[in-house]
Symmetry: C2
Subunit: 363 residues, 2 copies
């Protein structure tokens, strides 16, 4: 088995999460989430499928000890429905007691995507922060910061990191290296580790909810944490979620509008996109579908509903009816359209309210 290299700056399309877990040393979430005081279907349905050291966090929650959730956002383009998974996870962790650090990766955006700081700021606020608030993020215990506005010790940490790794390690983690990638990686490692600096209250458990594509940064941050004897850092934990597949199947992408639903898409657009592009697991003819049933495992509308339909009961009925042929593709699509448009209508209202709260998050 040749080692697969994950490129956090490239694209990823994971076909087999079980294989990926083995390959990248990610632990199965198992029963770890079962004793949490709040439930979420992302956990129970294996959408959050794996972790590293998440037991440090469940222990903190159990013992009412402080812990941190940190997440980074790349301020490019629009926020789409796929991003919602991480945001929901962030907000769930906040409800579970996490102090939340939200990093705008504007240094990385400049280095790897040539996005100016001004543009990054605008996108981070209009697209990301506003939507995060609309989705339920609370100001209390939340630090929303820009990489380009980090503290002196945060900046120093992003340089000290260089002492705790080697070129060979960086190459084995990231594959091809460029100066931009190295500086971006060191900045991300500083992001993940700096909540444990003295100025932020010292060592404590930290969890990073991420897609698998961000694993390289997690691994590097964990290895470096263990080598920073002088800072007594706790190795950060991670939660890995399955990426929402694109409408047509394959990867969902910000730059490909027909692969996603944007959080600002109007109802008619949502309906058209799903009707026209959502990859179907239904049969070719009505007759064949009624006889043999559809395949929910490959049907994107059904796959999306596993993320967005909170009720296990309803979801099971949809699954069984589709599989038996009772539910047609057009009907399944309508369920998804209704579900999403109901959410989006509500979300648009929340967005308007959220706009008034944005300034509270910015200092």
């Amino acid at each position: 088995m040749t080692k697969q290299i994950l490129d956090p700056w490239g694209s990823i399309n994971v076909k087999d999460y079980n294989l990926a877990m083995k390959q990248f040393g990610i632990s199965d979430l198992g029963n770890l989430h079962k004793n949490l005081p709040l439930k979420h279907h992302y956990f129970s349905r294996g959408i959050i499928f794996g972790h590293k050291d998440f037991n440090k966090i469940t222990e903190s929650i159990k013992n009412k000890k402080p812990f941190v959730m940190i997440t980074g956002l790349m301020p490019s383009g629009i926020l789409h429905i796929g991003h919602k998974i991480v945001v929901d996870t962030i907000i769930h962790l906040q409800k579970l007691g996490a102090e939340c650090y939200i990093t705008v990766a504007d240094i990385e955006a400049y280095l790897t995507r040539n996005i100016s700081r001004e543009q990054a700021r605008k996108t981070a606020i209009d697209q990301y922060l506003t939507n995060y608030i609309a989705l339920g993020l609370k100001k209390k215990k939340t630090k929303f910061y820009f990489q380009s506005k980090g503290s002196t010790e945060y900046n120093n940490l992003s340089k000290y990191v260089a002492k705790k790794t080697t070129f060979n390690e960086l190459k084995s983690i990231y594959g091809d290296l460029t100066p931009q990638k190295i500086t971006s990686a060191f900045t991300q490692v500083a992001d993940i580790l700096h909540p444990q600096l003295k100025e932020n209250g010292g060592p404590k458990p930290v969890v990073v909810p991420v897609g698998l594509d961000q694993l390289p940064h997690i691994n590097l941050a964990r290895d470096i944490a263990s080598r920073f004897k002088e800072l007594k850092l706790i190795q950060p934990s991670a939660l890995f979620n399955k990426l929402l597949p694109g409408l047509k199947g394959g990867k969902m992408s910000s730059s490909d509008p027909i692969s996603h639903i944007a959080l600002t898409d109007p109802p008619k657009t949502v309906e058209n996109k799903i009707r026209k592009y959502a990859f179907s697991g239904g049969k070719e003819t009505l007759k064949e579908h009624r006889e043999k049933g559809g395949n929910p495992d490959i049907d994107i509308s059904y796959q999306w509903l596993t993320y967005f339909e909170e009720s296990d009961e309803k979801l099971k009925k949809i699954h069984d009816d589709y599989k038996s042929g009772k539910l047609l593709t057009s009907e399944l699509k309508q369920i998804l359209i209704d579900k999403l448009n109901k959410f989006l209508k509500n979300h648009q209202k929340n967005r308007e309210k959220a706009k008034k709260q944005v300034s509270k998050f910015l200092n």
Copy 2:
């Protein structure tokens, strides 16, 4: 001709400065210094032998326009007599009107020499700053700063640098790379370029007085400056001085006490070191020396006097008398001993006064 790679973190022993100038694209200083309103024998004797774009600085001086001198210090070990050459140059440039930036490379010291920030701070103040003041550095228009205490925009610049270079360029400049070297280099480039940031008054000529070993950083900073179209930076200038040779010949080193005279050495130590170790260009017997004369070109005591004896007339007489055999090695050494001990006695007194001024330079 294979390209020689200068290692700013290693050692260097330049045998032929003319060859080095050709090889590294350094211009002969020529008459560029002749119209300066203040003279210095380092210029007239070719101790400052070469430059890049120093005409930008002479123009600024001529037109009474602002310009900056920036220099970095590695806060390791003691300050020795070889360091004095750069300090004298700094102070000369200050007298010529430069705004002076003095960088304590404590990030680099940690990354490349494992020196803690606390130790770096102590050394920078006790050894460097105190001696700089004793040698004549004035507070007015001087910014003495630590890399670890740099402003946010300075830190951002040290990261943005990554976008303006490539691995191949870094390899061709520095040879073998390590993450530490890359981060150190980017930090040094930010040091050299940040006096031109908006927060520091915007683009202006900047000169860096250095030994040849620091050329790689100069070249990288100049190339990157020219690529930062958005910042409209002026390519920094540089002055290159010949390194004072070690007492025994070869390289002078902080870590080898018999290669140098420390600025804290007592008179007896100075006398002993020079008598015992200073490489002599004299003949083996008194008789032979009187007949054939000594060789000032290889005699370290004479070489040192070209740096420390300000009077051209006195220096010429010493040269001619030694060459003719009139002046014996022991007499030549005595001239150097007297010269240095007179300077050091005065310097020690100035050091005591300087200690009281140190706090003015620290904020």
